[in-house]
Protein backbone atom coordinates (compact mmCIF):
# COMPACT_ATOMS: atom_id res chain seq x y z
CA UNK A 1 0.00 0.00 0.00
CA UNK A 2 1.43 3.40 -0.98
CA UNK A 3 2.04 6.05 1.71
CA UNK A 4 0.11 8.69 -0.26
CA UNK A 5 -2.58 7.93 -2.83
CA UNK A 6 -4.14 10.70 -4.86
CA UNK A 7 -7.04 9.46 -6.95
CA UNK A 8 -9.08 11.42 -9.52
CA UNK A 9 -8.75 14.61 -7.49
CA UNK A 10 -10.40 17.76 -8.84
CA UNK A 11 -10.68 21.18 -7.28
CA UNK A 12 -12.46 24.35 -8.32
CA UNK A 13 -11.85 27.80 -6.84
CA UNK A 14 -15.12 28.85 -8.44
CA UNK A 15 -17.36 27.22 -11.07
CA UNK A 16 -15.33 28.84 -13.87
CA UNK A 17 -11.85 28.11 -12.55
CA UNK A 18 -10.68 24.54 -12.08
CA UNK A 19 -7.23 24.35 -10.44
CA UNK A 20 -6.89 20.57 -10.31
CA UNK A 21 -8.19 18.32 -13.07
CA UNK A 22 -8.64 14.65 -12.31
CA UNK A 23 -5.18 14.18 -10.77
CA UNK A 24 -4.07 10.63 -9.99
CA UNK A 25 -0.73 9.51 -8.57
CA UNK A 26 0.81 7.71 -5.61
CA UNK A 27 3.90 7.98 -3.44
CA UNK A 28 5.36 4.73 -2.08
CA UNK A 29 6.91 4.48 1.35
CA UNK A 30 10.50 5.72 1.19
CA UNK A 31 10.02 7.26 -2.22
CA UNK A 32 11.04 10.81 -3.15
CA UNK A 33 8.72 12.39 -5.68
CA UNK A 34 9.42 15.80 -7.19
CA UNK A 35 6.49 17.80 -8.54
CA UNK A 36 7.39 20.46 -11.11
CA UNK A 37 5.67 22.58 -13.70
CA UNK A 38 5.11 26.21 -14.72
CA UNK A 39 3.69 28.62 -12.14
CA UNK A 40 -0.06 28.42 -11.83
CA UNK A 41 -0.06 24.77 -12.86
CA UNK A 42 -1.60 23.70 -9.54
CA UNK A 43 1.41 21.93 -8.03
CA UNK A 44 1.34 23.89 -4.75
CA UNK A 45 -2.40 23.34 -4.50
CA UNK A 46 -1.97 19.61 -5.13
CA UNK A 47 0.58 19.18 -2.36
CA UNK A 48 -1.61 21.14 0.09
CA UNK A 49 -4.52 18.80 -0.57
CA UNK A 50 -2.49 15.90 0.83
CA UNK A 51 -2.85 17.18 4.41
CA UNK A 52 -6.19 18.84 3.63
CA UNK A 53 -4.94 22.40 3.94
CA UNK A 54 -6.79 22.81 0.63
CA UNK A 55 -10.16 21.05 0.40
CA UNK A 56 -11.05 19.21 -2.80
CA UNK A 57 -14.43 18.84 -4.47
CA UNK A 58 -13.91 15.46 -6.12
CA UNK A 59 -11.66 12.43 -5.75
CA UNK A 60 -9.99 10.65 -2.86
CA UNK A 61 -6.71 11.21 -1.01
CA UNK A 62 -5.37 8.50 1.28
CA UNK A 63 -2.43 8.95 3.65
CA UNK A 64 -1.13 5.86 5.43
CA UNK A 65 -4.40 4.07 4.68
CA UNK A 66 -6.60 6.86 6.04
CA UNK A 67 -9.03 8.79 3.88
CA UNK A 68 -8.10 12.47 4.23
CA UNK A 69 -10.91 13.78 2.04
CA UNK A 70 -13.70 12.61 4.34
CA UNK A 71 -11.82 13.10 7.57
CA UNK A 72 -13.04 15.77 10.02
CA UNK A 73 -12.41 15.20 13.71
CA UNK A 74 -9.15 13.28 13.32
CA UNK A 75 -7.69 15.72 10.80
CA UNK A 76 -5.40 17.57 13.28
CA UNK A 77 -4.00 14.23 14.44
CA UNK A 78 -3.25 13.13 10.90
CA UNK A 79 -1.71 16.50 10.02
CA UNK A 80 0.62 16.20 12.99
CA UNK A 81 2.02 13.03 11.38
CA UNK A 82 2.55 14.70 7.99
CA UNK A 83 5.43 17.18 8.03
CA UNK A 84 4.95 20.30 5.93
CA UNK A 85 7.48 22.93 4.85
CA UNK A 86 6.23 26.15 3.29
CA UNK A 87 7.70 28.49 0.70
CA UNK A 88 7.77 31.39 3.16
CA UNK A 89 8.87 29.29 6.18
CA UNK A 90 5.91 30.42 8.32
CA UNK A 91 7.77 30.13 11.60
CA UNK A 92 5.81 31.68 14.46
CA UNK A 93 7.50 35.09 14.80
CA UNK A 94 6.40 35.68 18.41
CA UNK A 95 8.06 32.47 19.65
CA UNK A 96 11.74 31.65 20.08
CA UNK A 97 13.22 29.02 17.80
CA UNK A 98 13.09 26.35 20.49
CA UNK A 99 9.49 27.32 21.32
CA UNK A 100 8.58 27.02 17.65
CA UNK A 101 9.81 23.44 17.81
CA UNK A 102 8.03 22.63 21.09
CA UNK A 103 4.53 24.01 20.37
CA UNK A 104 3.24 21.06 18.36
CA UNK A 105 4.99 18.48 20.53
CA UNK A 106 3.44 19.68 23.80
CA UNK A 107 -0.03 20.60 22.56
CA UNK A 108 -0.68 17.99 19.90
CA UNK A 109 1.48 15.06 20.98
CA UNK A 110 1.16 15.74 24.72
CA UNK A 111 4.89 15.49 25.38
CA UNK A 112 6.30 17.06 28.55
CA UNK A 113 8.16 20.39 28.31
CA UNK A 114 11.46 18.65 29.00
CA UNK A 115 10.96 15.85 26.51
CA UNK A 116 9.87 18.35 23.86
CA UNK A 117 12.87 20.58 24.52
CA UNK A 118 15.29 17.66 24.36
CA UNK A 119 13.81 16.56 21.03
CA UNK A 120 13.90 20.13 19.74
CA UNK A 121 17.58 20.52 20.60
CA UNK A 122 18.36 17.20 18.94
CA UNK A 123 16.70 18.32 15.70
CA UNK A 124 18.34 21.76 15.86
CA UNK A 125 21.68 20.02 16.12
CA UNK A 126 20.80 17.99 13.08
CA UNK A 127 20.10 21.10 10.97
CA UNK A 128 23.16 22.81 12.51
CA UNK A 129 21.37 25.58 14.41
CA UNK A 130 21.82 24.72 18.09
CA UNK A 131 23.40 28.11 18.76
CA UNK A 132 20.23 29.91 17.65
CA UNK A 133 17.74 28.11 19.92
CA UNK A 134 17.01 31.18 22.05
CA UNK A 135 16.67 33.61 19.13
CA UNK A 136 13.52 34.73 17.37
CA UNK A 137 12.84 33.77 13.74
CA UNK A 138 13.31 37.37 12.58
CA UNK A 139 16.93 37.27 13.76
CA UNK A 140 17.81 34.40 11.41
CA UNK A 141 18.59 34.38 7.69
CA UNK A 142 16.12 32.90 5.23
CA UNK A 143 18.13 29.71 4.86
CA UNK A 144 18.39 29.29 8.61
CA UNK A 145 14.67 29.91 9.03
CA UNK A 146 13.83 27.26 6.46
CA UNK A 147 16.08 24.75 8.21
CA UNK A 148 14.26 25.54 11.47
CA UNK A 149 10.97 24.98 9.62
CA UNK A 150 12.20 21.55 8.52
CA UNK A 151 13.22 20.80 12.10
CA UNK A 152 9.79 21.95 13.31
CA UNK A 153 8.24 19.32 11.06
CA UNK A 154 10.74 16.62 12.04
CA UNK A 155 10.24 16.91 15.82
CA UNK A 156 6.73 15.54 15.27
CA UNK A 157 8.21 12.25 13.99
CA UNK A 158 6.39 12.50 10.66
CA UNK A 159 5.62 9.46 8.50
CA UNK A 160 6.15 11.57 5.38
CA UNK A 161 7.19 15.11 4.45
CA UNK A 162 5.64 17.64 2.09
CA UNK A 163 7.78 20.48 0.73
CA UNK A 164 6.04 23.37 -1.02
CA UNK A 165 8.72 25.23 -3.00
CA UNK A 166 11.09 25.24 -0.01
CA UNK A 167 13.85 27.20 -1.77
CA UNK A 168 11.96 29.64 -4.04
CA UNK A 169 11.93 32.44 -1.48
CA UNK A 170 15.63 32.11 -0.66
CA UNK A 171 18.64 34.08 -1.81
CA UNK A 172 20.76 31.92 -4.14
CA UNK A 173 23.59 31.45 -1.67
CA UNK A 174 21.21 29.95 0.89
CA UNK A 175 19.53 27.40 -1.34
CA UNK A 176 22.15 24.72 -0.89
CA UNK A 177 22.13 24.67 2.91
CA UNK A 178 18.42 23.83 2.73
CA UNK A 179 18.79 21.31 -0.09
CA UNK A 180 21.59 19.58 1.83
CA UNK A 181 19.23 18.91 4.74
CA UNK A 182 16.63 17.58 2.31
CA UNK A 183 19.12 15.30 0.54
CA UNK A 184 20.17 13.95 3.91
CA UNK A 185 16.52 13.22 4.78
CA UNK A 186 15.94 11.47 1.47
CA UNK A 187 18.98 9.29 2.00
CA UNK A 188 17.60 8.18 5.35
CA UNK A 189 14.54 6.87 3.60
CA UNK A 190 12.01 9.59 4.43
CA UNK A 191 8.96 9.55 2.16
CA UNK A 192 8.96 12.95 0.47
CA UNK A 193 6.79 14.90 -1.91
CA UNK A 194 8.61 18.00 -3.08
CA UNK A 195 7.33 20.87 -5.21
CA UNK A 196 10.44 22.52 -6.59
CA UNK A 197 12.19 24.03 -9.59
CA UNK A 198 15.54 22.68 -8.41
CA UNK A 199 16.19 20.15 -11.15
CA UNK A 200 19.63 19.41 -9.71
CA UNK A 201 17.92 18.19 -6.55
CA UNK A 202 15.47 16.15 -8.61
CA UNK A 203 18.26 14.50 -10.59
CA UNK A 204 20.19 13.74 -7.44
CA UNK A 205 17.59 12.28 -5.08
CA UNK A 206 14.18 11.92 -6.73
CA UNK A 207 12.82 8.51 -7.66
CA UNK A 208 10.01 9.92 -9.74
CA UNK A 209 9.11 13.24 -11.29
CA UNK A 210 5.58 14.51 -11.76
CA UNK A 211 5.09 17.27 -14.31
CA UNK A 212 1.97 19.40 -14.03
CA UNK A 213 0.48 21.95 -16.38
CA UNK A 214 -2.86 23.78 -16.17
CA UNK A 215 -4.10 21.64 -13.29
CA UNK A 216 -3.32 18.33 -14.92
CA UNK A 217 -0.69 15.72 -14.20
CA UNK A 218 0.82 15.63 -17.68
CA UNK A 219 3.67 13.30 -16.95
CA UNK A 220 4.44 10.93 -14.09
CA UNK A 221 7.66 9.07 -14.78
CA UNK A 222 10.81 7.59 -13.31
CA UNK A 223 13.51 10.23 -13.00
CA UNK A 224 15.71 8.75 -15.75
CA UNK A 225 12.82 8.63 -18.21
CA UNK A 226 11.64 12.13 -17.39
CA UNK A 227 15.02 13.79 -17.89
CA UNK A 228 16.15 11.39 -20.63
CA UNK A 229 13.17 11.47 -22.94
CA UNK A 230 10.06 13.26 -21.70
CA UNK A 231 7.06 12.03 -23.66
CA UNK A 232 4.85 15.10 -23.71
CA UNK A 233 5.58 18.26 -25.69
CA UNK A 234 4.73 20.41 -22.71
CA UNK A 235 7.28 18.69 -20.48
CA UNK A 236 9.91 18.95 -23.21
CA UNK A 237 9.27 22.67 -23.61
CA UNK A 238 9.36 23.19 -19.83
CA UNK A 239 12.62 21.30 -19.46
CA UNK A 240 14.30 23.07 -22.35
CA UNK A 241 13.32 26.41 -20.82
CA UNK A 242 14.67 25.75 -17.34
CA UNK A 243 17.69 23.68 -18.32
CA UNK A 244 18.91 25.88 -21.17
CA UNK A 245 21.31 27.88 -19.01
Amino acid sequence: MPMITIEKVSKWYNPQFQVLKNCTTAVEKGEVVVVCGPSGSGKSTLIKTVNALEPVQAGTIMVDGLNVTTMKKDLPKLRSRVGMVFQHFELFPHLKIVENLCLGQTIVLGRSEDAAKAKAMKMLERVGLTAHAQKYPGQLSGGQQQRVAIARALVMDPICMLFDEPTSALDPEMINEVLDVMVELAKEGMTMMVVTHEMGFAKKVANRVIFMDAGEIVEDAQKEDFFGHPRSDRAQQFLSKILSH
Binding site: P76, R79, R81, E90, V108, Y136
Partner: protein, 230 residues
Protein backbone atom coordinates in the same frame (compact mmCIF):
# COMPACT_ATOMS: atom_id res chain seq x y z
CA UNK B 1 1.80 89.88 32.23
CA UNK B 2 0.86 87.08 34.60
CA UNK B 3 1.15 89.40 37.63
CA UNK B 4 -2.58 89.66 38.23
CA UNK B 5 -3.09 85.90 38.10
CA UNK B 6 -4.52 84.30 41.21
CA UNK B 7 -2.88 80.94 41.65
CA UNK B 8 -4.51 80.46 45.00
CA UNK B 9 -7.81 79.62 43.32
CA UNK B 10 -6.18 76.45 42.00
CA UNK B 11 -4.94 75.38 45.42
CA UNK B 12 -8.27 76.09 47.01
CA UNK B 13 -10.19 74.04 44.51
CA UNK B 14 -7.78 71.10 44.19
CA UNK B 15 -9.85 68.67 46.32
CA UNK B 16 -12.98 69.47 44.32
CA UNK B 17 -11.17 69.27 40.98
CA UNK B 18 -9.64 65.87 41.63
CA UNK B 19 -11.91 64.12 44.12
CA UNK B 20 -15.01 64.90 42.11
CA UNK B 21 -13.92 65.99 38.66
CA UNK B 22 -10.97 63.73 37.91
CA UNK B 23 -12.60 60.84 39.73
CA UNK B 24 -15.51 60.90 37.30
CA UNK B 25 -13.26 61.41 34.27
CA UNK B 26 -11.20 58.35 35.22
CA UNK B 27 -14.25 56.25 36.08
CA UNK B 28 -15.89 57.04 32.76
CA UNK B 29 -12.66 56.31 30.88
CA UNK B 30 -12.18 52.99 32.68
CA UNK B 31 -15.75 51.77 32.29
CA UNK B 32 -16.00 52.81 28.64
CA UNK B 33 -12.64 51.13 27.90
CA UNK B 34 -13.44 47.82 29.60
CA UNK B 35 -16.99 47.44 28.31
CA UNK B 36 -16.11 49.03 24.98
CA UNK B 37 -13.37 46.41 24.53
CA UNK B 38 -15.69 43.53 25.43
CA UNK B 39 -18.46 44.78 23.16
CA UNK B 40 -15.92 45.73 20.50
CA UNK B 41 -14.46 42.21 20.47
CA UNK B 42 -17.94 40.77 20.00
CA UNK B 43 -18.63 43.17 17.15
CA UNK B 44 -15.27 42.34 15.54
CA UNK B 45 -16.07 38.62 15.75
CA UNK B 46 -19.48 39.26 14.21
CA UNK B 47 -17.85 41.26 11.46
CA UNK B 48 -15.37 38.46 10.69
CA UNK B 49 -17.99 35.71 10.91
CA UNK B 50 -19.24 33.96 7.80
CA UNK B 51 -22.85 34.90 8.55
CA UNK B 52 -23.97 37.73 6.28
CA UNK B 53 -26.57 38.89 8.81
CA UNK B 54 -24.08 39.17 11.68
CA UNK B 55 -21.34 40.83 9.66
CA UNK B 56 -23.87 43.13 7.99
CA UNK B 57 -25.15 44.27 11.37
CA UNK B 58 -21.60 44.82 12.65
CA UNK B 59 -20.60 46.84 9.58
CA UNK B 60 -23.71 49.03 9.82
CA UNK B 61 -23.19 49.64 13.52
CA UNK B 62 -19.54 50.61 13.11
CA UNK B 63 -20.25 52.85 10.13
CA UNK B 64 -23.14 54.58 11.90
CA UNK B 65 -21.12 55.31 15.05
CA UNK B 66 -18.08 56.46 13.14
CA UNK B 67 -20.13 58.84 10.99
CA UNK B 68 -21.64 60.79 13.88
CA UNK B 69 -19.87 63.41 16.01
CA UNK B 70 -19.51 62.26 19.61
CA UNK B 71 -21.18 65.41 21.01
CA UNK B 72 -24.23 64.69 18.91
CA UNK B 73 -24.35 61.08 20.10
CA UNK B 74 -24.09 62.23 23.72
CA UNK B 75 -27.05 64.56 23.24
CA UNK B 76 -29.02 62.06 21.23
CA UNK B 77 -28.66 59.29 23.79
CA UNK B 78 -29.48 61.60 26.65
CA UNK B 79 -32.76 62.66 25.08
CA UNK B 80 -33.56 59.33 23.42
CA UNK B 81 -32.81 56.87 26.17
CA UNK B 82 -35.77 57.70 28.42
CA UNK B 83 -38.06 56.75 25.52
CA UNK B 84 -36.09 53.60 24.71
CA UNK B 85 -36.30 52.63 28.40
CA UNK B 86 -40.01 53.30 28.34
CA UNK B 87 -40.42 51.05 25.32
CA UNK B 88 -38.30 48.25 26.80
CA UNK B 89 -40.07 47.98 30.14
CA UNK B 90 -43.44 48.97 28.62
CA UNK B 91 -43.88 51.85 31.04
CA UNK B 92 -46.47 54.53 30.41
CA UNK B 93 -43.99 57.35 30.82
CA UNK B 94 -40.35 58.00 29.83
CA UNK B 95 -37.82 56.42 32.21
CA UNK B 96 -35.52 58.86 33.96
CA UNK B 97 -31.98 57.68 33.23
CA UNK B 98 -29.89 60.57 34.43
CA UNK B 99 -26.91 62.25 32.83
CA UNK B 100 -24.26 60.01 34.45
CA UNK B 101 -25.76 56.68 33.44
CA UNK B 102 -26.52 58.07 30.01
CA UNK B 103 -22.93 59.16 29.33
CA UNK B 104 -21.52 55.83 30.51
CA UNK B 105 -23.77 53.93 28.09
CA UNK B 106 -23.04 56.41 25.30
CA UNK B 107 -19.27 56.23 25.62
CA UNK B 108 -19.31 52.43 25.88
CA UNK B 109 -21.38 52.03 22.74
CA UNK B 110 -19.42 54.71 20.88
CA UNK B 111 -15.98 53.37 21.80
CA UNK B 112 -17.04 49.79 21.02
CA UNK B 113 -17.26 50.78 17.36
CA UNK B 114 -13.67 52.08 17.36
CA UNK B 115 -12.30 49.20 19.44
CA UNK B 116 -13.96 46.64 17.17
CA UNK B 117 -12.13 48.08 14.18
CA UNK B 118 -8.82 47.86 16.06
CA UNK B 119 -9.56 44.24 16.98
CA UNK B 120 -10.54 43.33 13.44
CA UNK B 121 -7.42 44.91 11.97
CA UNK B 122 -5.29 43.12 14.58
CA UNK B 123 -6.70 39.69 13.78
CA UNK B 124 -6.52 40.29 10.03
CA UNK B 125 -2.93 41.51 10.29
CA UNK B 126 -1.80 37.94 10.99
CA UNK B 127 -0.95 36.36 7.61
CA UNK B 128 -2.98 33.38 6.41
CA UNK B 129 0.22 31.35 6.10
CA UNK B 130 0.55 31.45 9.89
CA UNK B 131 -2.86 29.83 10.26
CA UNK B 132 -1.87 27.20 7.68
CA UNK B 133 1.38 26.49 9.54
CA UNK B 134 -0.56 26.06 12.77
CA UNK B 135 -2.94 23.59 11.16
CA UNK B 136 -0.02 21.79 9.51
CA UNK B 137 1.57 20.83 12.84
CA UNK B 138 -1.77 19.48 14.00
CA UNK B 139 -3.35 22.33 15.97
CA UNK B 140 -7.12 22.71 15.79
CA UNK B 141 -8.98 25.99 15.18
CA UNK B 142 -9.09 26.97 18.85
CA UNK B 143 -5.42 26.16 19.40
CA UNK B 144 -4.37 28.05 16.26
CA UNK B 145 -6.30 31.09 17.50
CA UNK B 146 -4.92 30.85 21.03
CA UNK B 147 -1.26 30.06 20.32
CA UNK B 148 -0.62 31.51 16.87
CA UNK B 149 -3.10 34.21 15.78
CA UNK B 150 -4.18 36.04 18.95
CA UNK B 151 -0.70 36.46 20.51
CA UNK B 152 0.46 38.11 17.30
CA UNK B 153 -2.75 40.10 16.84
CA UNK B 154 -2.56 41.28 20.44
CA UNK B 155 0.99 42.57 20.03
CA UNK B 156 -0.07 44.42 16.91
CA UNK B 157 -3.09 46.07 18.46
CA UNK B 158 -2.18 46.68 22.10
CA UNK B 159 -0.43 50.04 21.49
CA UNK B 160 -3.36 51.17 19.32
CA UNK B 161 -5.82 50.21 22.05
CA UNK B 162 -3.89 52.29 24.59
CA UNK B 163 -3.65 55.22 22.21
CA UNK B 164 -7.41 55.02 21.63
CA UNK B 165 -7.90 55.01 25.41
CA UNK B 166 -5.85 58.21 25.69
CA UNK B 167 -8.07 59.79 23.04
CA UNK B 168 -11.11 58.55 24.98
CA UNK B 169 -9.74 60.13 28.15
CA UNK B 170 -9.65 63.49 26.37
CA UNK B 171 -13.03 62.97 24.74
CA UNK B 172 -14.72 62.43 28.10
CA UNK B 173 -14.48 66.22 28.56
CA UNK B 174 -17.34 66.49 26.06
CA UNK B 175 -19.74 65.50 28.83
CA UNK B 176 -19.75 69.19 29.74
CA UNK B 177 -22.68 69.51 27.34
CA UNK B 178 -24.78 67.65 29.92
CA UNK B 179 -23.38 69.85 32.74
CA UNK B 180 -21.65 66.85 34.32
CA UNK B 181 -18.80 67.50 36.74
CA UNK B 182 -15.88 65.80 35.08
CA UNK B 183 -12.40 67.31 35.49
CA UNK B 184 -12.93 70.02 32.89
CA UNK B 185 -16.49 70.56 34.11
CA UNK B 186 -15.25 71.06 37.67
CA UNK B 187 -12.53 73.48 36.53
CA UNK B 188 -15.08 75.34 34.47
CA UNK B 189 -17.49 75.68 37.38
CA UNK B 190 -14.80 77.07 39.68
CA UNK B 191 -13.65 79.37 36.90
CA UNK B 192 -17.10 80.85 36.40
CA UNK B 193 -17.84 81.11 40.12
CA UNK B 194 -14.60 82.91 41.01
CA UNK B 195 -14.18 84.74 37.73
CA UNK B 196 -10.78 83.10 37.19
CA UNK B 197 -11.28 81.65 33.71
CA UNK B 198 -7.71 81.93 32.40
CA UNK B 199 -6.07 80.39 35.45
CA UNK B 200 -8.45 77.45 35.66
CA UNK B 201 -8.42 76.61 31.95
CA UNK B 202 -4.63 76.88 31.84
CA UNK B 203 -4.39 74.57 34.81
CA UNK B 204 -6.84 72.07 33.27
CA UNK B 205 -4.85 72.10 30.03
CA UNK B 206 -1.64 71.45 31.94
CA UNK B 207 -3.16 68.48 33.80
CA UNK B 208 -4.58 66.94 30.60
CA UNK B 209 -1.27 67.46 28.84
CA UNK B 210 0.81 65.90 31.60
CA UNK B 211 -1.40 62.83 31.89
CA UNK B 212 -1.71 62.22 28.14
CA UNK B 213 1.92 62.96 27.38
CA UNK B 214 3.15 60.62 30.10
CA UNK B 215 0.73 57.89 29.01
CA UNK B 216 1.84 58.24 25.36
CA UNK B 217 5.44 57.97 26.45
CA UNK B 218 4.74 54.67 28.20
CA UNK B 219 2.76 53.37 25.24
CA UNK B 220 5.78 54.00 23.01
CA UNK B 221 8.05 52.15 25.42
CA UNK B 222 5.60 49.27 25.63
CA UNK B 223 5.37 49.15 21.84
CA UNK B 224 9.12 48.71 21.59
CA UNK B 225 9.19 46.02 24.25
CA UNK B 226 6.45 43.79 22.87
CA UNK B 227 7.00 44.29 19.15
CA UNK B 228 7.80 41.18 17.13
CA UNK B 229 11.25 40.97 15.60
CA UNK B 230 10.88 40.62 11.85
Amino acid sequence: MFSNFDYDVIWRSLPYLFQQGMAFTLTLTAIATVFGLILGTLIAMMRLSSSAVLSGFAVSYVNLMRSLPLVLVIFLFYFLMPYVGQWIIRSDQPVQVGAYASTIVTFTLFEAAYFSEIMRAGIQSVPRGQVMAGYAIGLNYREVMRHVVLPQAFRNMLPVIFTQTIVLFQDTSLVYVLSITDFLGAASKVAQRDGRLTEMYLFAALVYFLICFTASFFVKRLQKRISIIR
